[in-house]
């Protein structure tokens, strides 16, 4: 079955501390994975995608096929990073995206 799991509903860290938001997936094909972010009272927006291997706002995510993971990391959290983060999987050959349940990141001053 196709599934995206984000085990943490809430993650609180202090400003300047490293952050890791966990995402695991279950998918038999070659996965296309994304991180979306939703800041308070704003819409869902793409943060990064694994095929681009980019760093956005200091965040990176590496696809680990062996561990079926796509964890989101940032070495030094900022207060403005506080938001809901969703990991998503695009089912190849379809137009369908599967989202995880999301993790709320709170960065404390």
């Amino acid at each position: 079955a196709q599934r995206v799991t984000q085990p943490e509903k809430l993650l609180s860290v202090f400003k300047g501390a490293p952050v890791e938001l966990k995402c695991n997936y279950s998918y038999s094909g070659s996965p296309e994975l994304f991180w979306y972010v939703q800041y308070s009272r704003q819409r869902l927006q793409l943060l990064l995608r694994h095929i681009s291997r980019e760093s956005i706002k200091g965040f990176t995510a590496d696809l680990n096929k062996g561990e079926t993971s796509f964890h989101l990391k940032k070495p030094f959290a900022q207060e403005e990073d506080s938001a809901m983060y969703y990991c998503a999987l695009k089912v190849s050959g379809t137009y369908k995206y599967i989202f995880g349940t999301g993790t709320r990141l709170k960065v404390l001053a």
């Binding site: 793409l46 137009y95 989202f99 999301g102």
Partner: protein
Amino acid sequence: EPEVTQTPSHQVTQMGQEVILRCVPISNHLYFYWYRQILGQKVEFLVSFYNNEISEKSEIFDDQFSVERPDGSNFTLKIRSTKLEDSAMYFCASCPRASYNEQFFGPGTRLTVL
């Protein structure tokens, strides 16, 4: 910068009533989607739409749901006879082409069924 818009922002309806949720995708986009998010749960795919027809739908998208692109700009989701469990945030999204791999989301419509 162009954005996906949705109306209304909040819709309250009685169980059994029909509702139509409206979306205006970004103008040069060709692929359109509806998602829903029940409070406290994950964002769930409902349906994708391309070239004036449904290209993919989930098991949630049963006969009570329908989508339409009645003109060149609007993309609507109709729920024929609402149930209490249809209460959720409904998000519309669009993207320029299937290979683009980024969906642009609207702000959502909160549907409350009483």
